[in-house]
């Protein structure tokens, strides 16, 4: 991968632009968002959660974040990473599974008794084991839970992963991968919306200057 910064690449932030300057004013956040990408999507030692599985999960999660069946720049990016590691039939099966799983989140129930009135129903994913190997299918079902209805997670959700052959280390990496993407894709979405909004005055607002000194 040649992208120095995947968030800049996905949000199409040109070097030297106003948003580039703003991102660089939080240098650790910028640097370690990229290090998170590398740790989760290009790890030197992937362990039991192999690269092809990571790209399948990422492509699936990215498509679930898309507002329409049309692929966003981010989901096209993760589908390309998957296509480099997996055969076309699996790429198509993962994309189909994601399209079938699209819904509006966050929904889900509450364990807390006073919040039960706020419960919102929604679908759980059922990924076709004929098209996708069972361990990956279980991982995608968990990704669907995390992306769309994370408050429905229970110990049984993790037991389903263990039953599919995943051990604790891989479950932590899988959870971090999907949760990181929930961050990265929102940051990209927000930065794109900000870049597309009519330009703000060139000078910072007076209230910002006051805040900087506060």
């Amino acid at each position: 991968m040649s992208h120095d910064d995947v968030i800049d690449h996905l949000a199409e932030i040109p070097a030297g632009s106003r948003l580039d300057e703003i991102r660089r004013a939080r240098p650790d956040a910028r640097e370690h968002a990229q290090q998170s990408f590398l740790a989760l999507l290009e790890p030197a030692a992937p362990g039991a959660l192999g690269l092809a599985d990571r790209y399948a999960i990422a492509a699936y999660a990215a498509i679930l974040h898309d507002p329409s069946p049309e692929r966003s720049r981010a989901s096209a990016f993760y589908l390309e990473l998957l296509a480099d590691e997996a055969d076309p039939a699996l790429v198509a099966a993962v994309a189909d599974a994601a399209d079938a799983g699209r819904a509006s989140g966050p929904y889900g129930g509450y364990r807390e008794p006073d919040l039960r009135g706020e419960a919102v129903d929604g679908p759980a994913a059922a990924v076709d084991r004929r098209a996708i190997p069972a361990p990956l299918a279980a991982a995608l079902e968990h990704a669907h839970l995390l992306v769309l209805h994370p408050r429905d997670a229970r110990p049984e959700s993790l037991r389903a992963l263990v039953d599919a052959g995943w051990e604790a280390d891989a479950i932590v990496s899988l959870s971090q991968l999907v949760a990181f993407l929930a961050f990265q894709l929102r940051l990209v979405h927000g930065l794109r919306a900000l870049a597309a909004a009519p330009a703000a005055p060139a000078e910072p607002a007076a209230s910002d200057l006051q805040e900087a000194r506060a």
Partner: protein, 198 residues
Amino acid sequence: MTAIIEHEALRRPERFTQRGLGWVPWLPPVPEGELTDVQRHALVEASRSTSPYFRLLARDPEALRARTLTDLDIFGNEEGGLPRWERELSAAAASRVNGCVFCASVHARAASRLSGRGDDVQRLLDEGVGARVDERWDAIADASAALTATPSGFGAGHVERLRAAGIGDAGIVDQISGAAFFNWANRLMLSLGEPEVV
């Protein structure tokens, strides 16, 4: 094979709260005495070795370290942008929408401490992100809630409203980053364990 940990007798919270909560894992954390040097380095702050949450995440040390350093800069960097309490408000609003009672308790408490507006923060917890406070607060809460939806509903209208409330683009990036980061944290806290009244 990994053993899932059930907590049958746990004292669970009944609603959102600003009180300090504990958190118990459903997967075995790395025991404190067995943390490797790489895992300790990944904790960034040595005191985090007492936390079962961070010791569980230490199973993937590279991801934990990068995540922690991202977190500390988004919420702790005092150079420009949004006042810290408003970044905490963004985090609390995202956590309220996702239903993460643990994360909401930590960041609602931080927002209260940094702003002195504990009653307003409590309304966010009790009534939800739709609680109306003032134009700037509401703009931040609504933008954070919209960003938290899947697919994200954050758009030009939110940017315009944040700007009209006196927030510059660096502040808007802090609001986006704070809310986006809690979409990361909420998913870990909600899916790897659960909160406990302590």
